[in-house]
Amino acid sequence: MFRQNKRRLAARRNNDLSFEDSNTSIKLENGITGFTSNGSLSLDEQKLYSNISKTKLNFYELPPQGEITLEEFETWAIDRLKILQEIQSSISRNKSVKEIATIIKPQLQKLLPSTLASFSNANDSFLEKKKDYYSHYILRLCFCRTKELRESFIRSETLLFKIRFNMLTAVDQTKFVQSLNLPLLQFISDEEKNQLSQQLYQTASPLLQFQLNLTDEQQRKAYFARERYIKLPFENVIELVGNRQVFINNGYAYLPQFQQLNLLASEFSNNISNSLIKTFQYMPRLNEDDRLLPILTHLSSGYTVTDFDQNNGQYGENSDNEINAESVWSPEIMKHYPLSVKHLMEGLKLNHHLRYNGRQQLSLFLKGIGLTADESLKFFAKAFTDGGHMTTEKFNKEYRYNFRHNYGLEGNRINYKPWDCRTILSKPRPGRGDYHGCPFRDFSSEKMTSELQKMNLTPAQIGSVLDSCNKGEYTTANTKVFEFTHDFNGNDPEINDQTLIAHPNLYFERSRQLEKKKIEIEEKIKGTVVN
């Protein structure tokens, strides 16, 4: 099937809007229009592109028709996935929509930018939209398989939609809403509004006060007088019915325009929900392609993307040799370790030995925070021989190679990277006497509780961490611990990166950064006092 497409593509290559010339171009056809498309494809494609260009947001109604490279296929999907995962984890950490918006805005700028300025660079803005559009559709393919995947995808995408809608200017919002042409968006006449004005005002007044901060009654009345109302079957804004945020009469809900995003969002999620099921039904037809499926399976298999180790080719700054064989034991450094590393260090101290997986996990982590090869050897040699069970000779004979190997100094000379949470979770679970693995998965809830109590978490906080553990959201649990133990509320504007911590080294780095920043601020304050 795809071979056929390729042939068709080759014939079309020069007359469409394709931006790709690569030979690995693939055709992304979605099941919704199915494979009924024929020669008029390029027309569809043009129509699609002109559609996307018109407004800043869209409902992703027409499936993509153009070509992209395999590489784009993967990287675009990953970029979008990062944002959705951040939203997902923020939701499970009980962040409010406002907080989530501040968290993901910088990431949106980085990963899925949308040029809000005028069409100064139309081409750029078009490419941005194309990426947004295709990545959405690729992830539909990834997340259509099971009910759970679909639900979490819809939840994150809808929230993303809401956040982006709120980022638009009023003019763009109106333009977008008009472009949707929703049959439900019928405004009531002034006459009808006047008739119901008492009830409508009773319903709207608390909302104006608490959502739009109109504390003055006169302000609220003036706002209400200007506001237009949409009348629609109450099922379409069912969430607002439950909160009694809309007036309902004879089966119709009366929605003030300032609440219309609720309606749009519910339309949006219904649309995706329906399309996902259709996509799912068409999935078997895609099985013929052996290039996409591995990527799709990979992306949807609970894979946590973290670009931590890619961005920092050089792990940790160890400028003034702060990290050395001695200091890694010091409380100043130890306090920045995530729970998994603390556990490894305890095991090492207790047994003067670690088994293979534990050695790997710890030594690569320490390498990641800046411990040099020499210092690492020194550290492990001392730790292993201290108990008196092992001679230096035996250590050198049996373990030295192993640790040097991790630094790329032996064998294939590969510069191994510190394990991220996903790698750690994919290793065999620890047995008796093992210290590797992820505490959030491997500890009993009793043990986890006592560990968390040692960190001075409140019972409510402990409950919330355990909750995430039980749900299998181990990185979220870890992130919660980080947030509970650090004086930091998650929307520190200077951390414009993922807030979800999916790498032990990220935990360490972020913890140290925060401390440094705090010291700087304190010194500044001191300075001003002295002056």
Partner: protein, 406 residues
């Protein structure tokens, strides 16, 4: 006042057999659930569950005709049977299909009001007992619900059924209501369910201005507050109860203390006296400059209390899920022997026919149901079922149907 507290032994299994054989209106129930005269999926894919004397409970029964429905229930002779959802496949074939393939599609929207939830304000009876005085709580609750269902949601076809002891079930058969998913059911419930906390420990503190639903409900309940609560039930004559449920609903700590002090010094004042004591003590409590605001707050608290005591208290679990099962109308309550009849105007639990009485009436009148006390409820229900069927016709078939009638 006669209570409906059942004789210790409910009907025997041969009594039940007699009832299913001679009295139970299988045809009307069948048509009611089928929403049409011709058998459809609404009935063939509908789940029934049977509860037996032994405590056994058999789910996932379904029937394809009135004859089968009657035969099977008669043969199994359950204590009572319950009605569940309409599935995408006939529930009785459940064993041969994958569990994940069974999906609940539709069911009547149901509400359940139980007298238990009014116990903090009910003094005439306790526990399972019910009398005509406390039944007023339920009657008033049904009135409020009726207006909400018809005015707000535009529902037309709903019926209240006596639960057999001390509560009432509402069945809404409008297509729109039947088709609701769990999310919609939960939201409708949240909309209607104003008094969520049954412990009465915290004051309601509803937002102002009231949502139109609350304005209307308050207008309806207010005239009955004095009669039902202050006079008849008089729940706050008990000082401990007044401290626990009346004082906690006030907004001002000083006023609460003043009332507590006064009522401790003068124990046993009636609810009516206490209700006005609050106003008296309040006016001596406030300084003149804040008077207006203070009294407004107090008025709002009192409005909240009226809702707290009289607004319909719903059993939330029944409404939440499409698949939830609820006892069928006209079943016999196993403990009281009462028939779960539809509630007609002026109904009181003491008027519910009992199976033992019906058996006597039948022997008296040569087995002619028409002369029994059940008949008026059967008539009422039959008329209602016809209304459901008529409203369920889509516009096209409706025209045909009307022409047919000409």
């Amino acid at each position: 006042m006669a209570t409906t507290n059942g004789t210790p032994s409910g009907p025997s299994s041969s009594d039940m057999e007699y009832y299913y054989r001679k009295l139970y209106p299988f045809t009307d129930i069948y048509h009611w659930l089928n929403h049409s005269m011709t058998t459809s999926k609404d009935m063939t894919h509908r789940e029934f569950a049977m509860a037996f004397r032994s405590g056994a409970y058999k789910r996932y029964n379904s029937y394809t005709s009135i004859q089968e429905f009657k035969q099977q229930i008669e043969r199994a002779n359950p204590d009572r049977f319950e009605i569940g959802a309409i599935y995408n496949k006939p529930p009785k074939e459940r064993d041969t299909i994958l569990k994940s393939e069974m999906k609940a599609l539709e069911k009547e929207l149901v509400f359940d009001i139980d007298m238990d939830d009014y116990d903090s304000y009910r003094t005439c009876c306790t526990g399972a007992m019910v009398c005509s005085r406390c039944w007023k709580f339920i009657t008033l609750a049904m009135e409020v619900m009726n207006i909400t269902l018809s005015e707000d949601f535009g529902f037309k076809d709903f019926v209240w059924v006596f639960s057999g002891r001390r509560g009432a079930h509402c069945w809404i058969s409008d297509k729109r209501a039947r088709q609701m998913g769990d999310l919609q059911r939960r939201n409708i419930l949240d909309y209607v369910n104003v008094v969520r906390d049954r412990s009465n420990e915290k004051r309601l503190s509803l937002m102002r201005p009231y949502h139109p639903l609350l304005v209307r409900s308050l207008d309806l309940l207010k005239p009955h507050f004095s009669d039902i609560i202050l006079e008849e039930q008089d729940p706050w004559a008990d000082d401990a109860n007044a401290f626990a449920t009346l004082l906690t609903a006030l907004h001002d700590k000083l006023l609460m203390d003043a009332c507590r002090k006064y009522w401790t010094e003068n124990p046993g004042r009636s609810s009516k006296q206490k209700w006005s004591d609050i106003d008296v003590l309040a006016s001596s409590e406030v300084k003149a400059n804040k008077r207006h605001d203070y009294l407004l707050k107090l008025k709002e608290c009192k409005e909240d209390i009226i809702l707290q005591t009289l607004y319909p208290k719903l059993d939330v679990e029944v409404t939440k899920q499409t698949i939830h099962l609820l006892k069928a109308p006209f079943c016999i309550h196993p403990a009281t022997g009462n028939v779960c009849v539809p509630i007609i105007d002026g109904f009181e639990p003491s008027q519910a026919p009992k199976l033992i009485g019906l058996q006597e009436e039948m022997t008296e009148h040569n087995d002619n149901v028409k002369f029994t006390s059940l008949q008026k409820f059967l008539d009422y229900f039959e008329k209602y079922v016809n209304q459901v069927i008529e409203n369920n016709l889509d516009s096209g078939t409706k025209r045909e149907y009307e022409e047919l009638l000409k």
